[in-house]
Assembly symmetry: C2
């Protein structure tokens, strides 16, 4: 059987331990091409680079494995890998493993998940993987069998049209992972603050800080799954239309 061609990217940069773990797992499954940002791109959402040129750098090339870095965003990485290196589409795009949860509303800000959504827009089966541990030296030793299982299942069955997966894995702790749960994105938001400081020239500047806040305590969400030591799989789509509100809004008075 022909090996699947797997494109890997992330937003923590090509130097992140998370992508190294993902590469090691994917090389057991298929032929791998890595195109990842040359510097951290966390919080870049679905940003693309339109005003500056992109550069790519080949880091490794051997049979079944190619690795490149790029000065763009995660979404740029997907696009340029397909157009300038693969000259076609891979069989699968995997993004991550993100250092930190992309559950709930984090999905909107995440470059890692945006790369998977980009794949989905282009009709490629795509999965974003994240670990619920923000630290650079997070322990990824418990993730292998789960990521392999999810990947093989997606390669085997495919994904529904216009759908990709947002997979969040609990941080390593004393209890074993209880299983894999398909669930919805929890409703939540960040309660931000800006810490004001003075630079050495007495000019103000601000650092964004924030506290994650959720009132959504239902048991069918990714937040609940993570909290209860399940791996959360949320199917994502890219139609932002609030279909359930089309009727209400069409009854507003829009006549000039």
């Amino acid at each position: 059987m022909k090996k699947p061609k797997i494109l890997i990217t992330n937003d923590d940069s090509i130097h992140a331990p998370g992508i190294r773990k993902l590469i090691s797992i994917m090389r057991q499954i298929g032929d791998v091409i890595v195109m990842a940002p040359d510097s951290p791109q966390s919080g870049m959402g679905h940003a693309i680079t339109v005003a500056t040129p992109l550069r790519i750098k080949q880091i490794a090339k051997e049979i079944g494995y190619e690795e490149y870095s790029c000065n763009g965003t995660p979404v740029d990485c997907v696009k340029i890998a397909e157009k300038a290196v693969l000259h076609g589409k891979p069989d699968l795009i995997v993004s991550g493993i993100n250092h930190g949860s992309n559950a709930s509303v984090n999905v909107i800000y995440s470059g890692t998940i945006a790369a998977a959504i980009e794949g989905c827009i282009e009709g490629v089966n795509s999965i974003g993987f994240s670990l619920d541990d923000y630290s650079w030296d997070a322990d990824f030793s418990h993730v292998d069998e789960y990521i392999k299982k999810i990947t093989l299942e997606v390669l085997d069955k495919g994904l529904p049209k216009d759908t990709c997966l947002n997979v969040n894995i609990p941080a390593l702790n004393k209890s074993p992972i209880k299983g894999i749960m398909v669930c919805r994105q929890a409703k939540a938001c960040w309660d931000e603050a800006f810490e004001a400081r003075k630079d050495p020239h007495d000019r103000d500047y601000y650092w964004l800080t924030g506290v994650f806040h959720s009132d959504d305590l239902a048991e069918d969400t990714d937040q609940w799954a993570l909290k209860n030591n399940f791996i959360a799989i949320v199917p994502l789509h890219f139609d932002l239309t609030a279909h359930h509100n089309l009727k209400t809004l069409s009854e507003y008075d829009w006549k000039i």
Copy 2:
């Protein structure tokens, strides 16, 4: 009656004619605070700035009007305006007027629309306005009454929970605008290419280019509306869960 407090931002930068037009309309309706990027942020999607400090610069301050620029993204502008200037939430957030359509899949890449979605996440009534004309000297002379009408209707009735509006206005042409249509986001994608060049030091670089491509010819979409000279209003939400696929995916074999 107390005037509504209206926060204005965009992604084409504080210098863009589109935001100037939006400011002039909103000043007829309420007290206005502008916080807009100091340089173009097109294609920034829902990016936020996490690794570098933000700075803001006061440009104008008079009764009922304050204007600031910020070195961050459109979403940063919303957050920092609320936290560092308003110290609370405005009654309305309007973003734009974008130079260029944000209909269909463009909504995902747009910094202008991301600012409206950010407002929506925070529970503020929010509207993104775009003109279907990319040029810097686009003619905005036909938009006033429509933007005023939509804004007043939203201020009067409010928006459904967790919903904001993506409003796209046809470019000025010989035919009059036929009306306002509430519709869904058309399915489409960009067919990209990367133009490869050599820099003066003989190193490769790439420019992203692309052609918009849609097979979705139904008559209930924003693309159809624009093409037929209607203003398109798409209600947006920020729950990316593909709810219609939860059942199918939960029937995959996820057992380890």
